[in-house]
Structure formats: C-alpha cells, structure tokens
C-alpha cells in the first residue's frame, strides 16, 4: 500500500506551516522526515494519517491493504499514549476490541505482538510500573496488533534517554528485517534517520517545503553504528539543514 501526497499545503490561523508537499511513501520502505524545529513535520504526519485535514491538496492511499489489516494508518506517539488504568495486555486489547474478533484470535494476536517486542513477561504490568523504553515497546506492540499498512511514527524515541534509544533503534531494525513494513518516521535526530531511513526527506523551516530527498541503499541490518558512509550522509544532511535550523532557532514560537 502506498501513500501519495499531492500539493499538500496547510495553514493555522494566518501561519502557513506546510507548502506544496509532493510525496510518495513506497510500500515496504521507511521514509524519514527531518527538518528544523517548527518546520511542520509532525503536522505533516498528522495530515497523512487523517488526524487533521489539509488546507489544500490531496492525500491518497493507493493499492490494497495487507490481509487482516484492521487499521491501515497507525500511529506511534512520542509520549506513548498508553491508558494508565489498563495493563499492558489490556492496552493492546483496546485497539482490537471494536473489531469483530473471537476471543482466542484476539489473544493470539496479543501474544504474538508481545513476543515480537519482547514484552511477554510484563503483560499484567501497569504503565506506571514501566520505564520509558518499555512503554514505547508496548505502544509499538499495540500498533503492530492491528497489522497496519503504514506505520506513522512521530518522534517515537525522543522521550527516551540515549541508551534506551539505541536499544529501541536496534529493536526497530530487527522488527523491519523480520517483517518489512511501510513506515514514516518523523525525527529531529539525524543519527536515527540514517539508521532507519530508506528515504530521507529534508524539510525547510516554516513554511515547510521539501528541500531535498536522500536515499540510502544499504540494508537496515547492515548499518552498524560506526559506518563511515552513514556518518558522511549524516553530515551532508546536517550541512543542508544547519542554516535553516539556526534561523528557526531564532524565531519566536508565536507572535
């Protein structure tokens, strides 16, 4: 399943945040959105998944969704968005309850995603007992439970410390290697982008336009942490972004 954006522009009140975005999210590849603060990457992600309507332009889903797909466009949020009063198991069950699934089938899905994210031992724990990394694993498990066509990830590792970030990056690479999925990954961290992205789209500062698209051909599980080529790409991206980021840093958030 592909996601196609044509001429997408968006404005809040009198501020244009996105201008003329033309984008195609290819099936089975991860697209990283990077750019300076306030360039509209999170807004673009919300538009892609239908949580907001674009002021102009079109966002279309092309092709067939995978078998057993319960929710084609699924999010993973920066602040986990777990229900604090439900256990890990019940949080995953939440997104399955409204679909007509027999209880054994639902249980099977829950067991499967907990296994894949290595959270099976914590199925009865409450979110307040979990560390940030564990909570995000539960959120990823919840997203996988609905067998999404496109996984929309909004800075999923930003709220975690850098050690946990490394571990979870490895986990995401492993997940994709075992079962490739289509993903859009918004981040301000260029190291994450070069680790995970098949295609990296650099946005300019507000109003966000597509500055450049960079593709990396190296398979995800071969991108070790000390790769010279990757470091070079990262530096290239930062050079592109640096001036924009500097100027964005000197702007007030609101007038």
């Amino acid at each position: 399943m592909q996601l196609q954006l044509r001429g997408v522009s968006h404005a809040y009140d009198n501020t244009t945040v996105l201008q003329d975005i033309e984008l195609k999210v290819e099936a089975g590849r991860i697209l990283c959105l990077v750019g300076p603060s306030g360039c509209g990457k999170s807004t673009l992600l919300r538009l892609m998944g239908g949580l907001e309507r674009p002021s102009s332009g079109s966002i279309r889903l092309l092709g067939d969704s995978p078998a057993d797909c319960l929710n084609p466009l699924t999010y993973v949020f920066q602040d986990f968005a777990l229900l604090p009063w439900r256990s890990v198991e019940e949080n995953i069950s939440l997104v399955l309850e409204d679909h007509a699934l027999a209880t054994p089938r639902r249980q099977q899905i829950i067991d499967d995603v907990l296994q894949r994210t290595r959270m099976a031992d914590f199925r009865h724990a409450l979110p307040r007992q979990l560390s940030g990394g564990m909570k995000q694993r539960v959120a990823i498990a919840r997203a996988l439970a609905v067998n999404p066509a496109v996984l929309l990830m909004d800075e999923p590792l930003s709220a975690l410390d850098s050690q946990t970030r490394e571990l979870l990056l490895d986990d995401l690479v492993q997940l994709w290697t075992n079962e490739p999925f289509t993903g859009v990954y918004v981040t301000h961290n260029l190291s994450e982008a070069v680790r995970l992205g098949h295609d990296i789209v650099v946005l300019s500062r507000r109003p966000g336009r597509i500055f450049k698209t960079v593709s990396i051909d190296q398979p995800l599980n071969e991108r070790g942490q000390n790769s010279q080529a990757l470091e070079q790409v990262r530096r290239q991206l930062w050079q592109m972004m640096r001036d924009e980021a500097q100027q964005a840093e000197r702007e007030l958030l609101s007038s």
Binding site: L51, W85, E97, D98
Partner: protein, 289 residues
C-alpha cells in the same frame, strides 16, 4: 579511578578517603560534611490521634466530676455513653438512624447520578456546555437550605421534599467536578483512540469516563459532606424521626447528653462515609502513581 596524591589542589584527601577542605584562614582542618538535608516530609505517627481523643475525654470527664465544668456547659462523657446504651437497647437509635440514612442515600443517589450524567454531557458537547454552565454557576451559590420552604411547597412536607433538597444540594458540586474532570482527560489519549479507529461511544466509555474517575470521586467527597448538612437541616425543619429531629428535640429540652449523643452519631457518619470513599478511591485508582 585512583586519587591523584601529588596534585597541588586546594582540597586533598587524607588516608581515610574523607575530603578535607581548608578552613577560612586557609589551613587544612578536618570536619565531617555537615548534614543539610532532610525534613519537609511529614510521616504518619501512630497512636497520637487516639491518645489526644482519650486525653480530651478523660480531661472533660475529670473536670465535670470535680465540678469545674458544670453539666449545663458540657455533659459528662460517661453520661453521653450511658445515653448511647439507652438508645441502643430501646431501639430508638435505629428509629432515628434508618430514616436519616435512607433520606441521605436516596437523595444523594438522585443528585449524584444526575450530576455525573449532565457533567459528562457538558464536558463533551459544546452546545450543552454553553447552555448549562452559566445556569449551574447561577445555582451553585444559592444556600440550598433557603430553598427548603420552596421544596415543601412543591413536594409536600413529607419525605419527597427532603429527597429533593438533598438531591439538589449534591447535584451542583457533582456537575462542576465532573465536567472539570472530563476536561482534564489527556486529549492525546483521545487522539490515540481516534487514530486506531475507535468509535465515539467507545472513546467516551473506555477513555473519557475512566480518565475522569479521579475527579468525579473527589467531587463525591464534597457532595456527600454537603448532603449531610442538608439532611440535618431538613430534619430539623420538618421531621418527626431522624438524627436532625433528635438533636433539635434534645436541644429544646436542654438535654445536653442526648444532644451530644446525636452529634457524635453525625460525626461517626461523616467519618464512615469519608473512609468508604477513600476505600473506593484506593480500589478504583490503583493505577495512579
């Protein structure tokens, strides 16, 4: 990491590993690091409350036996206790307590149910909010006791007016607490629900209502405290049986033992209700950190 024994820094370490700082005159003295933290974190001290209660009661008992406190000022605690025993054995306790409890229960059931329902509607629908919030704001400051004559005219002198008064009195604080609680539910949880395709009713049932529970339960404490006050007031103004009626009768006869017996019953009622809500909170809000 071995310490650098040859460094000529202002601080040095002696053989025991203590950091040794020079004093103001620049000589190397040797003191323990003074403790500057601690405090500002009250801890429960067991038994003090009971001790103070007992001391107070014993003090009053002794004072009235010695004649320092006349029994027109304060009754002897042992006399009040004897009155209790009389109430219990003659069955009069239940004759007064049961009507009071039933009025409290039925009245607050109506008021709280209506309050929570309307509070949720206000929290979810802009039209309802715009229409009802000013109305509730106008009703809130009215002392409900002042409305009792109106309720008697509408509902009669019998039980219905008392149910209505208590219902009305518990309604307004419950509505306010409920819609504030609904507003305070983290909106990102709602967006998450929408992003997974949850329907409107599912989101209300599974995300909004459980999320608003802490606020609703704390509003319950306020409502029930108000309910007890209204109960006593309504009974004083027009009831034959009930704790309020009992207290009024005792007061008019200047029977301080019976009056205090009634007051103690009210106090126990308040403590029981507060503990019950606390128990419900602990069970339902296990998930809070």
């Amino acid at each position: 990491m071995t310490p650098d024994r040859n460094a000529t820094t202002a601080r040095s370490s002696n053989g025991h590993g203590e950091i040794v700082s020079p004093d103001a005159a620049g000589h190397s003295g040797e003191i323990d690091v003074p403790f500057r933290g601690g405090g500002f974190s009250p801890k429960p001290v067991r038994g003090v409350a009971i001790l103070i209660f007992a001391a107070l009661l014993l003090g009053i008992e002794w004072g009235s036996r010695q004649g320092y406190i006349s029994n027109l000022t304060l009754p002897r605690p042992s006399d009040v206790f004897a009155t209790f025993q009389q109430l219990w054995s003659s069955g009069l306790l239940w004759k007064h307590l049961l009507p009071s409890l039933s009025r409290l229960l039925i009245g607050s059931l109506f008021g709280i149910t209506a309050g929570v329902a309307i509070g949720i509607l206000i929290g979810l629908f802009s039209l309802v909010r715009a229409g009802l919030v000013p109305l509730v704001a106008a009703l809130f400051p009215i002392p409900k006791i002042a409305l009792l004559p109106l309720f008697v005219i509408w509902f009669g002198i019998d039980e219905a007016s008392k149910y209505a008064l208590i219902a009305f009195g518990t309604f307004t604080p419950t509505v306010v607490a409920t819609y504030a609680a609904v507003d305070s539910v983290d909106r990102t949880l709602v967006r998450m629900g929408q992003s997974f395709g949850l329907g409107w009713f599912s989101i209300v049932r599974k995300i909004i209502v459980p999320g608003a529970m802490p606020g609703i339960l704390s509003g319950l404490r306020v409502s029930l405290a108000i309910a007890i006050i209204l109960l006593v007031a309504a009974e004083m103004l027009g009831a034959e049986y009930g704790i309020g009626a009992y207290i009024l009768e005792a007061g008019s006869l200047y029977d301080l033992e019976r009056l205090f017996a009634g007051v103690v019953i009210l106090s126990v009622l308040g403590v029981v209700i507060s503990s019950a809500i606390g128990w419900i909170e602990r069970r339902m809000l296990v998930w809070r950190s």
